[in-house]
Amino acid sequence: MIEFATLLERLAFTPSRTMKLALLKEYFTMAPDPDRGYALAAMAGSLSFAAVKPAMLRALAMERIDPELFALSYDYVGDLAETVALIWCPDAGQHTDMPAPSLSEVVHTLERLPKAEVPGVIREWLDACDASSRYALLKLITGSLRVGASARLAKTALANIATISPDDIEEVWHGLEPPYEALFAWVEGKAPKPDAKDAPVFRPPMLAQPLENVDLTTLDPADWRAEWKWDGIRVQLVSTPGGERVYTRTAEDIGKAFPDILAIMQDLGSRVVLDGELLIMHGSSVAPFSDLQQRLNRKAPTAPMLRDMPAGVRLYDILFEDGEDLRSLPFDTRRERLESWFARLNPPRMTVSELIPFSEFGELAKLRDAARSEGIEGLMLKKADSPYVPGRPRGPWWKWKRDPLTVDAVVMYAQRGHGKRSSFYSDYTFGLWRTVEGKRELVPIGKAYSGFTDEELKFLDKWVRDHTTKRFGPVREVAHGLVLEIAFDAAQYSKRHKSGVALRFPRVSRIRRDKPVEDADTLETFIRAFL
């Protein structure tokens, strides 16, 4: 428990990915089985005991401490588990000589212990732990562990031990269970790669490079296929004798949020692995990304959501069919297999992403710029003979995004960044003009924290410091004196913002020192142009 607690503490405070990886790797190398496996399960959210209720913790704390002192403390700390962890005074002489429980002891005990006996055991554990371990224990058993590291990061750290790719781990991951002893044995070179057998495992997807610095005239259009790049969530649909899954491209299982898609796959009963884009579709038209976002935000959708925001999948590729691995076949062959599979089964709420006929790239460029419709981000170019290779190889697939939209906005607030940027004001809230009751005022429409060079960041940081008018903790309000050209991918209406609009992927594209703030855009022209 102590090592796990130390790891959690360090991860929680470290913003740097490299540091997190190093800390995780150190832990996975030093901690014994099965503890490290349960730690990995805690990060991946795959532990299976019933969570302990906060009321029980409070009751336990009250046995030891005066209610008035507890209330004052809770008020100050603001978090129940942390308050109990800090305030807990080990019962003198009773359990203080007991060693702190190991992570696996905690997991095993809670998996089988009758409910009535849980408080007694927790009391003993709390007595045996120090404050930092008590905190980790309480967060773990109440199911409110925020590790500060994603499952993907933990797998990357594991992969670093064996100098394999995290994708290799993804390929077996969903066929394994805590405490993952076979996985650790494999990465440490003590056992062969675990066999996923019939489990619905994730297959690392093939990703495209942005089409930049590529001379299209050197490419023969006849060797290439073009498709629309849809603005949804890239997903992998997996159906095996072991079950059905919907994975994101980072191997997150989002099936629970999309029971409509899972049900269709179950009905089909076809053993396939498909690559596609998850979209909210009304008939053949694609709903805005924000609708999809709402579905993603829910662990399980409500009945009205399922009715009003029905999900669908636009299929790009087929990776497996009836146990046959198709990934080494050329794109054209896979495409034929996909089309024939589709024609045979005619699955509801799925479509095959259409191929766009073209004879030269110039035509495509025109199509791309004209396509401002909902749900299209740009074009994909795929080499006709390209096999399906995990990762982001340069050459076989290109994504050709349409040029971003831009707006000239005024900086209103700035906030300190994180990690390496913590000494810089690097997050900027920007706004547009509007007129309310005859008065012109700025209304914030978004926040940007990227897109600038290091030199530009230095300038912006200094500008913020020199023009601060008010401070609220880490936030500074600044005088209205600087215009930024903000690039973004799309605009949409939003009830959550005061301005009523929101931007997708806003970033700073240029600092407009030349532009007087009065000449920045108005909300009205913005809405007319982009919504």
Partner: protein, 340 residues
Amino acid sequence: MDWLELKPEGLFCAPGAFYIDPLQPVAHAVITHGHSDHARPNHTHVTATPETLAIMQLRMGEGRAGHTQQPLHYGQVTSVGDMQLWLAPAGHVLGSAQVVMEYRGQRAVVSGDYKRAPDPTCVPFEVVPCDLFVTEATFGLPVFRLPDPAHEIGKLLHDVRLFPERTHVVGCYALGKCQRLIALLRNAGYHDPLWLHGALLPMCRLYESLGIPLGELRSATVAQKGEMRGGIVLAPPSAIADRWARRLPDPVVCLASGWMHVRQRAKARGVELPLVISDHADWDALLDTCRATGAKEIWVTHGREDALIHALGKMQIQGRALRLIGYEDEDEDLTTGAPA
């Protein structure tokens, strides 16, 4: 006790006609220790330990640390009017003292700031039995049971070994915390040169001249960036996450303070490695000390008095909140989030 009273200038001892740590210039001030909220400039006559007087001189400059000065060693009794006065070690920083006053068979003790945890840079706190004990309560909540500082130093050194290509910059207060950190590092076997922000060096030199060895200290301000890689840099808390720190190669931001015990506090400061090291008594130490003095009456000066007075009440000790305004914990300014 009716001969110790609260006035706008501060706590006043009537029979001796002196103030303890007054907030405004007075004719006679007895100063517990050198922190700027307790030791203020321009008193006419100042009584304090020789170390505190030296610290005041360094901080305030010649002439502002009292027109006349009376050095008083720990335990050395002096008569003021028809009362007796002496100073006892408080264990807070070098020279820190409790003020012990005896008058008509009664004894009152004003603790100033104090701690009970070991500190290689100052004389440990001494319990003085008394009728009235005036205590601080900076960490007057039961959630503040602070860990052993050696454990926190171990955490820092482990991190330094784990990330040898990064530079650990530790925020610490210039008087007391800084020197204690250095001494703790040396005790833990760390003998590499330490890099110091310019604002910390003069106080360290004074500690050394007063017999506290600190090992090799170098100026971080004039150092080449590459020289400090893998090393430990000490700086005032206001500098660690601000422009000054940009001169350091790939810094890990650490902060040594009792407030780091609570996660939200540490998070709000953007600290990457919080080190729970405090120069104040923690909750257990406050209660133990109040009990050990045997005082029937306890006055609480600054800090979180509600919880402490409540807990004393349950021990049948009468507590009273003085609510002295103007004293702040030297670490408190770190956590208000105002970038300096």
